[in-house]
Symmetry: C2
Subunit: 550 residues, 2 copies
């Protein structure tokens, strides 16, 4: 049904409604015969009018059909790209566009985020590519853009991909709704290269509102987290999500940049392991041919083996699997571990401070080199940039306990910090020292893994540390026990079956230098750095006890 | 028992043996009384001599014990390092040592690969750190190095780790057996910081011989591959293995360097997946809480999802799991996948040639920036550097078939190449084009996965390619089908259950740009690049159907 036909039908329906209202009158009683007759006449008149309008519309359609479309070469659905040809076209990305390119003709491939008609002679398109959007415009003219072409532009389903040729024009007013707002694209050619053929579960606009947008206008559509994750391919297209994963990649890149400079070697340790070591619980079981195997819950034992094998300084970026039935905002069953392990000469503080410097390197470079992406993310997820010192603050565990107690928190000397206590501590540290990032050193031995080196001065404590960002733990590490006798003693003291750790202990019997290290959860660092409230937003396809799809 | 006591006892035993021989004579008959008496006297004389020697030895030992050891501060077993202290010592690595440092005092921590006494006043140590070895020397002097200290040095078990202070000295002759041969370390302090307390399954020397060494001396000990892998922590300490894994890390680094320059984003896709997609066989099953899940056998579907989600250009370095019961020199059940996927504007050759350039970048930089490590590896595993062109050779599949047939290989037009045929082709290409590296383009459609884009000119072929190095496949890739209708058609044609691919197909219904990509096995690239005959040598802790340990 054409738009015109729809309008006509609606008008008839409106009149009929009106008549029925009149017939029943305000009290719901039938009207007089005279009044009825008058109404009947009015109805006939309206009917004739509608018939005339329909006739006129049909005539117009016929005229339009007969009208020669002088723009057929300039638009349409492109043939499926099977690599039929290679031209020498120079393609431009939307984020490269600027006022300096005024009057240039450019070739672009991008999504149509929305199309908005203005009358039947004009059409606005919001074009999107990665984290950039720009406004496209088609206006009927006498030789290259026909009414049919504008109609075609209007009919393109949202999220379809188009290939356009356009002239870069400086608009009278900057276009605030687009990230590249100082130019406008006057489209001269428009081909759909991938058409959306099914209804979108939600629109990219709806998925892109910030808290502030909802405060200003509470009637805006909301897209629930589960709906987003069920349709992650669509959800990931928002410019904020595109930027989040550029920042996630940046954290990995900066982690490697720093460690490569420090002469670390990247390693790849096995994820399929024969025994459920490292404590034993929380491991996924795998059917491995005719036996059982397990998924590594950290590269801990293997990265230490690399130290015993003289690799000196190693790091790994790889998936880590935790069969923990924890449904919280900060737990995943599969996440990306940034792990490092490092032989040292004298003191584990050599490594702890190096890790501190590494984070400072990451934070500084993110703000400088990924400023564009951070700006995009903060538009949808507003947060203050983190505060940190060039030389990060080191706090001892016992001083942290004292600080908490001073502010009324009840906690034992050797108790582990709960998540709320960690957050409280974060607030107190921020207040006292003005930093969102600090290192907590010398944890009680009792709350750390069996392979943690005790403190030589006070055996109730240990040579171990956590790093905190905005009051949440982002890295845990320690000096490890490199002596097989002390290690066996600790394993026995903690009532772990030493038989599952035979190979591990043997590695130290063959000689091993003192070493320390730590592990970071990539998604956690990104989440806390960006101040985003749920780890599922910083995992590409998150996995939790209830979700293993898509 | 002291060495002196041992010598004495041996001499007594020797004389007794001699006498018994004499008593029985050559014919085995007893001697005359006179002869016996003479012998008895000789025996008594010898006995007295031995008693005297023993007395003298005891006296010497007593003297030695009474002798003040003036070097006690300069050697010994160091206390377990629990990070008791931090000094400002400047530590030097063995590979940094050079003749330019002559007469300097240096501090080093390293393995004692071997210790060799020369008399009781001198001891040579081979010190090893990563890929570097140097000779250490202790000579008794009158004030800092005592006999006891030299004795201690001789007693250090191989592979223990020591902390030394030494003076850099230029030896009369270069030390050929060490990688740093133009200097010698005259040790002044020697402390064991990690002592080997258990017998080594094999020595590092035995694990370090090359084929050439065995040809020269077939009596040299051999260490079997399984023995190496069962004791990988020791095996990895050979300088060749240390270098192999530096090269493995380098390949990853160069892969990322190139792709980062090309604006790729690193992604991390899930390894736990809900359905055994991509064909279905060869996947490991995982118990996932109360249901079953599977280990991803490639990031294929997820990296394509990232393209449909507008990431444009993505790569991933992550473990790949294959439950294939293949026990060959080139299969692993877990390996490191270097995967990439890339939207393109016009033709998949944009991507194929880019991948070709990427490999050239990797090969060139390896030879330049990792020359030291390559030299070390090639000493144990001799191989010629690969030959390749700046712009890699592209060969069409049908031309490869023609080339093989021309040389007597029987093969059908659309048959897949067997491994021997691939190797034969490699030889022919090397002969004809002088390159060890080339791209084979336009494979038959029938032997490629369902998501491969058909060739627009000839539907029996496809827009797909493999990359070959020294006649072995190192990368497989293609243009993918981005159209949901054609994709569904292909899935049905190949009789795959489309229900397992619902989410995947849906990604394309929401619009997706044309794209191409490929996947590399990291261990394979390193193996073929270095010309090493078994993939287990280039995997840190290899996994195959029979091995999931250590």
């Amino acid at each position: 049904m054409s738009e015109q036909e729809q309008q006509n039908q609606q008008q008839i329906a409106d009149v009929t409604d009106k008549m029925e209202q009149v017939i029943l009158d305000a009290e719901g009683k039938p009207l007089s015969k005279k009044a009825l007759k008058k109404l009947e006449k009015e109805r006939e008149k309206e009917q004739k009018k509608q018939e005339r309008l329909a006739r006129e519309a049909a005539e117009r359609a016929a005229r339009e059909a007969a009208e020669v479309d002088y723009a057929t070469d300039n638009y349409g659905n492109a043939k499926l790209n099977m690599s039929q040809q290679q031209t020498n076209t120079k393609w431009t990305e939307i984020k490269e566009l600027s006022a300096a390119m005024a009057d240039q003709t450019v070739h672009i491939q991008a999504r149509v985020q929305t199309s908005r008609p203005t009358g039947n002679k004009m059409c606005f398109l919001v074009l999107r590519e990665g984290t950039a959007t720009a406004q496209g415009l088609l206006v009927v003219n006498e030789d290259t853009i026909s009414k049919q072409m504008v109609k075609f532009a209007n009919s393109i389903p949202s999220e379809s991909i188009v290939s356009i040729t356009a002239i870069v024009v400086i608009p009278a007013e900057p276009i605030k709704s687009c990230t590249v707002g100082d130019i406008e694209l006057h489209i001269t050619k428009l081909f759909v290269i991938s058409k959306v053929v099914t209804g979108l579960p939600f629109s990219i606009e709806d998925a892109s509102y910030s808290k502030l947008d909802y405060e200003k206008d509470p009637t805006l559509n909301k897209v629930l987290l589960d709906t987003r994750l069920d349709n992650r391919v669509i959800d990931l297209r928002t410019i904020a999500n595109n930027a989040i994963f550029k920042i996630q990649a940046a954290v990995g890149q900066l982690f490697r940049e720093y460690l490569t400079e420090q002469k670390f070697t990247e390693i790849h340790t096995p994820k399929l392991i024969s025994t459920a070591s490292e404590g034993g619980s929380n491991v996924f079981q795998v059917t491995y041919f005719k036996r059982q195997a397990y998924l590594a819950q950290s590269p801990q034992l293997y990265k230490q083996a690399c130290i015993a094998a003289d690799f000196g300084r190693v790091y790994e970026i790889a998936p880590v699997f935790r069969a923990e039935n924890a449904n919280t905002y900060r737990h995943l069953t599969e996440y990306v571990g940034l792990d490092l392990e490092c032989a040292f000469r004298e003191h584990y503080h050599e490594i702890m401070y190096m890790i501190g410097d590494m984070f400072v390197y990451i934070f500084k470079n993110l703000e400088e080199r990924w400023a564009h992406e951070l700006e995009i993310v903060r538009k949808q997820y507003p947060s203050e940039p983190i505060k940190f010192d060039e030389k990060p603050l080191r706090l001892e565990f016992k001083d942290a306990i004292a600080l908490l107690r001073k502010h009324g928190v009840e906690i034992g000397d050797l108790d582990d910090l709960s998540t709320p206590q960690e957050r409280e501590l974060g607030k107190l540290v921020k207040k006292e020292y003005g930093t969102d990032f600090y290192m907590l050193d010398k944890f009680p031995l009792g709350i750390r893994p069996f392979y943690t080196m005790p403190d030589p001065e006070n055996p109730e404590y240990s040579n171990s540390y956590d790093f905190f960002l905005r009051g949440e733990e982002i890295m845990s590490g320690a000096q490890r026990i490199h002596d097989p006798v002390l290690l066996t003693e600790r394993i026995k003291a903690l009532e772990i079956d030493p038989s599952s750790l035979t190979d591990y202990i043997k590695g130290f019997e063959y000689g091993c230098p003192p070493h320390a290290g730590g592990g970071v959860g990539l998604e956690r660092v990104v989440m806390f750095y960006l101040g985003i409230g749920n780890i599922r937003h910083t995992s590409l396809f998150p996995r939790d006890p209830k979700r293993v799809d898509p």
